[in-house]
Amino acid sequence: MLSRTADNLYWLSRYVERADCLARILDVSQRLAYTPVTYGGSTNEWGSAVLTAGVSDLFTERYGPLEEAKEEQVVSFLAFEAENPSSIRNCFEVARTNARSVRTALTSEMWEVINTAWIELRNFPNRALTRDELSRFLAFVKETSLRFDGATFRTMLRNDAYWFSRCGAQLERSDNTARILDVKYHVLLPEKEHVGGPLDYFQWASILRSVSALTAFHWVYRDSVKPWLVADLLILNRQMPRSLAACYDNLARNLDDIASAYGRQGPSQRLARSMLARLTNRNIEDIFQTGLHEFISGFISDNNKLGAEIKEQYLT
């Protein structure tokens, strides 16, 4: 297929995934911000939302220091502002532009999800939203990504177009999970505060919620929420679709599918496999011992590197 088509499909899926992640971050921040401080609520939740979204430089340029970030500013910046290239609105705009350029590679069901979302986006007022409106908006964003994934899964031919699209979604997803961990890793460290206290519980729960894994946690571990188990679930547990290991399971497989269809392996396949191996032959204690933070920041940079390899090998 055309390199540009593959590139568009890949980014289309990335942007839909990114919008979904932003909606979750906003959801969780809102919830934490309303939680009393004695229950682990904190005053700078909005600042860390900006950090997690990876747009702190742009934000401070516009609104000043993160510590003083206000709810309205963050909501508007992450959800709607045109100046923020990764705002949810922009994600949908770019996703649709990409989708229009590769309509022939999309099924009509996928196109209609994206196009309908883009049309509906206009129904949300261009001013500060009330809380009700905001939660309706966030639900709409999450629903759109579910419908898009569903349409992709149910209607696309299983060929290179599908694999490139999945690669984009998985790479974005693992990046998002890793960034949530990167911003919040300190609350997962055992030496901080007394383990299992009420303060931390709400922080841990909010991490799980931001990847929609709070219920899953209990099913997997049949235990109360503990920081190392949270880390295990998000990093190493393959049952959990947003864990780094699960994302790389899929990435390595999709890249292998591409390679076998084209009859040629390359650097992106090798890198994906080696990263998968790193997530496979580990337990969480190891990771804590060598340093959770180091592990996560190393992962983020390797994950970006894989993106660059895929681009180099196929998309240009």
Partner: protein
Amino acid sequence: MRQAFDEMSSTNGHVRPAYETLKQWLSTVPQDVLDHRRKEAEYIFRRIGITFAVYGEQNAQERLIPFDIVPRILTKDEWGRLSKGLEQRVKALNMYIRDVYSKREVLKAGVVPEDLVYKNPAFRPEMNGQRVPHDLYVHIAGIDIVRTDPDTFYVLEDNARTPSGVSYMLENREIMLRLFPELFSMHKVAPVENYADDLLATLRSLSPHGGHEPNVVILTPGIYNSAYYEHSFLADKLGVDLVEGRDLFVKDGIVFMRTTEGPKRVDVIYRRLDDDFLDPLAFRPDSVLGVPGLMSAYQAGNVTLTNAVGTGVADDKAVYSYMPEIIRFYLGEEPLLPNVPTWRCREADHLKYVLEHLPELVVKEVHGSGGYGMLVGPAADKAQIEKFREKLIADPGNFIAQPTLALSTCPTLVEQGIAPRHVDLRPFILSGSDKVRIVPGGLTRVAMKEGSLVVNSSQGGGTKDTWVLDA
């Protein structure tokens, strides 16, 4: 202007046989049901994203072309006559262009004045003496037809560059089938859905070399082009890649496209990009939409461009006025479809007549399109006419004039109910190395405003499904 001929009720109110069933049906369906179906059609169009862009309009980057749910009906006989005339016309167009770029017998014989070729901005000296595969230039033509009475169809315009609108022809039919299955059960309507297969067969037949299966692509200027929807629609229906200039490159005189598996050779390019933008090395150096070196690959005979470069030399309105003579010259036949009588303002006696009769004429720019830059005399006020008169005197060679025809009308759903509106017809004619293919019908455009004769979508015109009855 006399009363227009209505294709349903004629001029005397007698329902014409082809429309009897439709008329009957319309009288039984309540207005609100029709309104509801029309809204439904609009919703479907918007959701599928069948939109077009109007240049220079702010906040209107994507608009819908109004779709009218009342079909326009042609009988088998009417269509039979039309299609013969269209085939003849396109044959002559191809022979004319070939001649213009080779022996120029038509000029030597004095049939067409030389300056209409040499001073024509669409004339491409690069094409002089250049053989094109199968000697065909206009592979995809859109010939605009208007009607004034039961027996008279005129050719209004030849579109020999990159005519658009065929996606509406196809989508209109799909939507009608979805919304009004009962109407189709009462009529025998010739299908149009084989257009995509016909187009692909035509494009494949034009490959510059035999042997392997040719790689056909559609070249689009990109998503901001007004007809982008059509480009992607066609690529999808044909199952070929939709490429932009940056997806292609030329190496050693061969055109390749960049794919995830490395470079792949391209044999036939259905380009929806004007000559000017095709190749920055050959034409406009500032074009970022084209492919550097494409012209040299084309001249080396390694790739087919459809339509060929330089076909614009045959489709401006001054050349149009010579088409009857051109047909006689090359084919030795009388034109089956007449031209609208046309005054060429470049000729002194014609100009004199035009200046004396401006309020009753339609005056058009020779190279204009889209309904821009024209004067519709009967609809213009004094000031507009005087202003146009000055333009005309300043540069008469740039204009032609035609009588204001009483274009036929078709029943159309408007706010007040069903009312007659003026229509035209654009059939699409495909010329392959093996044969000419025309799917029955074409795109009917309708002027939605009462009394308006301007059907162009950029001026608020709409479209209708066009039915050719099979019996």
